[in-house]
Symmetry: D2
């Protein structure tokens, strides 16, 4: 364990990663660089500086990555209408590749030979951090304290703090949520506690980002989203940067009881786990993106996207953002978005995201053909006979030869 | 046109198909057999008898197919969590194969050499009826009056009625909906009228099966669905037949503002069309089926199902229920459902279907492994290191050889 | 039929398309523009000029498209290792989009409002020509004489020639092959005649481009193919243009009895048909491309390519080259080819294409890791335990809960 | 290491697994049960008995599993036309699930709590053995000596033999092949030695099961394979059991220089490796199965099979035979094989497998429709126009609205 000289730690400023700073210094006798990022988790990041300094850290990185996070990770993912296992919008998964990349970049800048994180050995996040790190710097050493140390209970952790003079904010410890939580601009997640029983309904006071549908306003909110090439560029006509869009949609969604999700999911490490998520803005974005695509995508590319999406979601969920297969799928997805431009009008009401209208200069909806009224010859109904006849031919031949028919 | 002797017509008892009866008799100089089915469209079917008799029809088939419809078509489809283009629950599509099969069976029983239907030449339904018919009786003659005749406007149709003494119920004609509608136990659909403008919001008084979320009760309704091998067999502990389940869920859903959908979809004949749908029970069933699967399906079979689903939906949407590819996909889907048994508890509230709990004797959720607490050695966190290392190996080798990393 | 003013015809110079020239002039009373292309079919194209002139054609296009054909169509297709139904290298399919594009470009240049071709109403080629034409010029009129006229037998055709003074080369007619053939730089195809019986073995004298394996030399030929980004750029170290590569490989393959194929395939129009093909160069290229990819592609992108390939092949076979779904798939495929560079050494011998070696500066083969000898710690075998344990976890949980195990 | 009481070892009777017997006894102080199976590797299995006895083994299982191997593993796999990475017929992969199952069954019979095998920590076989074992007996302990011990060189192994009186047949050691080999009825594989250089051509004297194409007879061999429901049931009209079929085809193929393969493949553990394989019978079976399917499968089920095949191959290659996803895929594949019956006639000649004819009572090839001659109205060519027009509609609408066309 003596061969690590410097390690870059994903540092939240909280108790657990503070313990990790000390444990790394002690165990590996190495220098620790901390990296703290604002990716929209809703907590101040600047206080992490003093805490790190108090722990003897000399190189401290504190960064606001919100714009980059939404522009380069969330937006590309939403172009694919990505959902994992039919429900989950991948709020945690999509933040990890960015953190991994910055950890490695900082390691390269500071001459560190290792990175470290505070994810446990049971979850997906360790995988996502480490696959990203290895993909970007193949020789890096990864230290995952939760898989190594023996501080496996809250009591041991507290004892360690006392021994090492790590200040514990007992107020915050007392009020500590019974849930394991993770947040960024896309979502906040809850695991553990009573959620470990899939039959137990989540308690109302667990949710932090949204009011319940019951508590939401009795009148709907309308909002118009403007798309350019698959990405939202304006809300109600006001141009915004990607992270501003998401912040605003989170507010609108949360106020209207939108985006709560309660699921049992399959982790990459092989177990099922129960999770609750609030993704107010993302829930709105998914519905809206499908709506603008419904006007502007060709049928076959749309269907092919739908067939590829579960694989793309799995790739991201499992932590393979920095992989050739993700780039390959992204190339296919992005190729379809050149004309995904226009406006979607949504009605938000007590948990519902309702499409109230969609329009696009690139629309492939052809009213003159689709109409139930006289189409003035735009479509020759007689063509349908030949279309059906030849599509039926293989079925007719088979039936004519006595094949099973039902 | 003289070589058709007897034709079985899918007869609703309405004006259009009444005109078709007469037109077939006249144009083909053939006998017409009418077939009218109750598939839960919400209208009496028995009155079709007198109307058919008045038109000189001698062989009249009127049948209640609700149980068969839900048991043999709707339920198998929901085992796949089937959605077309991310939104549509295939309410119209799934009823057509049953109608096609009965048309052909009646043709075989009555010695008819042709079948006929009232679907237009622009839509998907002509394709679904005819592919089914050809697959089940390859030599059958299909007559699609809307593709053949010149009664292309309401005025011409009325004139034809007058000429041929077909009674027109002018009361119902006056109140005629501006929408083209289709209904069965799974859904009711609306097309045409102002919906031909995708930017126009549907009017509140169009919807027939559900109240608006705004008008729904202010207190939620809870319901428990019991699954056996992928199918719902009881509601709130009361055993029910498939169509009774769907009827009950339609009532619960409709009362709580659940199941409205407003989309632009891609038709098989090559155009986009705007449609609105109410699928109250189906919307509940989709959410619940995913919930019970989340506990009971293995991860990899679940992911494979998700990858196959868009193709399966396309097959059904396009009218290929009676095809080898549908049977092949169904075999794969059904293979996964042996253990999809248990109970899902749902909260229904103003348009929302919220999973409040799920449990199963076949659950693969292992609390002793998933727990954030001490797992007493059920899972060895150190295994994760090797897991990650080998999964990262190909990425590390590539990066080590200078491959693109981002 | 009077509204066509000018039609561009895909004109081979042969009897059938010469009849079409006259028939178009007569039937549509329109001007005919002929377009004859050298795409490597192995016949002179210049003689078509005099024939067209003799038929009164004023605008005559004769072009050498061999380079464009291989560079822009054959090469991109081979990047995907494309095979239709496990066997067919799509030799006919891939030439049609180019012809369709030139027909439309010439129509635009000459102000023609229609295009025409000599493909029958039973085959795939009509579909490919016409889908391409409609995709590139949506308002174009397509005239497919074989679907319209009554010249449905050789006798009627001959009578038509006599009536209209179309010179028939009776020598060539007498020696006329019993097969329907089509050729371009990628392949030559045979259909009809005794091939209509799938049990009948093709006769040796049918094959034109290759000797039989029996007649091939008793000593092997070695050749080295140099790849850059997925495409062959040199043979035996000599840089060549794409069509020169293919010409040379056709020669080498044909001389060594390589590339014969005898299959029953499924046409897009719904029937099965028997076809024989000679694709000497293409057969070599497929084997070699897989070999260079085996060294240079990441596993997951390689597997994803293999999963997408059948769809890509179907898209091309069915005639959708000029479609958004083909562009989408191409984007994914091309994204994987950046590092597909290196050299493949092949042994050609009596029908066999044998990989004798492959090397690449972009190789991901890591001898130090793969070795059976001591790897000096490059790979830690103990990692495998955790890898297996976590991959087995879901299976163990299921088995532990009594799930089916075999 | 003291908690293992009895372990079932996959025992070949060779030196390495003999060392393992002793090492297990010593290291774990446990009883060893040996299991030796004849799966067609071409070596006597009975001599393993005396060797095991000499090592103090009391429970010795020696079994002939050839029939079961081909019937229950090889045949189902070939129904899918399974190839891994476009080339590899999975000869090693498919034998492992059977061995794993017998190991577990014997463990259950003998009351053993562990199993062991002689596969290394770098390869796929450890994964396949262990995934199978865990899936079938989730609580089993797996001992993989190559991942644990320090006998990492031939010298150390020899020293261990000397120390423990394990008899070494120095004759066979001297003649020891430079390759790591594995054989069963489906194939023999070679790895290591000069093969670790992908540019090096395999030496002729490496190959054991087949003559070179050059050395094969100058006259072809014809053989007829009779299929029932996707499986070969007779050769040249003589009914045979599955393993007899494969033995006979191995002989025919090997004599005619058929089935050699030289590839670089991607292992599940993340590295590329070079392997050479001889699969004479399997190579014939793949070609023949495609041929009988070409007559008897519907187009869409055939295409769907082709799309699923790479995933199915990956599942087997990676060791997930005993998994829900394999069963799911198998259900889909088997559903398509009900009519895959008939006869395929093959010509075998110097490395070539040439289809000389195929016939079936379940044939979907309809000569009356496919013919180039007059089809007497079986197919109406005019249907093609409507078919093309509606298939083109989406492309025309897009082009009409100015979308990218090439």
């Amino acid at each position: 364990m003596s061969d690590v000289k410097k390690v870059v730690l994903a540092y939240s400023g909280g108790l657990d990663t503070s313990v990790i700073v000390k444990w790394l210094q002690e165990t590996y006798n190495c220098e620790v660089v901390t990296f703290t990022a604002d990716i929209g988790q809703g907590e101040e990041v600047e206080p992490a500086r003093a805490k790190a300094q108090a722990l003897g850290v000399k190189e401290i990185y504190i960064e606001d990555l919100r714009e980059e996070f939404v522009r380069d990770y969330v937006y590309p993912m939403f172009r694919a209408n990505t959902i994992y296992e039919g429900e989950y919008l991948l709020g945690t998964s999509i933040a990890r590749p960015l953190i991994a990349r910055r950890l490695i970049e900082i390691a390269n800048q500071t001459g560190a030979d290792a990175i470290s994180h505070g994810a446990t050995g049971k979850g997906n996040d360790q995988v996502r951090f480490e696959l990203g790190a290895y993909a970007l710097k193949p020789g890096v050493k990864v230290i995952a304290p939760w898989r190594e140390w023996d501080l496996t209970s809250r009591e041991k952790l507290m004892a360690y703090c006392q021994q090492h003079d790590i200040p514990v904010d007992f107020t915050s410890q007392k009020k500590k949520s019974p849930y394991s939580m993770d947040a960024n601009l896309l979502h906040i997640s809850y695991e553990g506690g009573i959620l470990e029983d899939p039959w137990a309904e989540a308690e109302e006071d667990m949710w932090r980002w949204s009011v319940s549908p019951e508590a939401a306003p009795d009148t709907p909110t309308y909002v118009e989203l403007t798309y350019e090439k698959g990405d939202i560029v304006a809300l109600d006509g006001v141009p915004m940067k990607p992270h501003e869009v998401l912040e605003r949609l989170n507010k609108l969604g949360g106020d209207n009881g939108i985006g709560r999700l309660d699921i049992v999911e399959n982790r990459y490490v092989g177990m099922k786990s129960r999770g609750c998520y609030e993704t107010p803005g993302g829930t709105i974005m998914l519905k809206a993106h499908r709506a603008i695509e419904s006007l502007t995508l060709d049928r076959e590319e749309a269907h092919l996207k739908d067939q590829l999406m579960p694989k793309y979601a799995e790739v991201i969920y499992n932590g393979y953002w920095w992989s050739p297969e993700r780039r390959m799928l992204q190339a296919a997805i992005d190729e379809t978005q050149h004309n995904v431009s226009g406006v979607v009008r949504l009605k938000l009401y007590k948990g519902n995201v309702i499409v109230a209208g969609r329009q696009s200069k690139q629309s492939l909806f052809d009213e003159s053909i689709a109409t139930f009224e006289d189409d003035a010859g735009a479509y020759d109904q007689k063509d349908a006979e030949g279309f059906i006849k030849l599509n039926a031919l293989r079925l007719r031949i088979a039936a004519g030869k006595g094949r099973q028919q039902d």
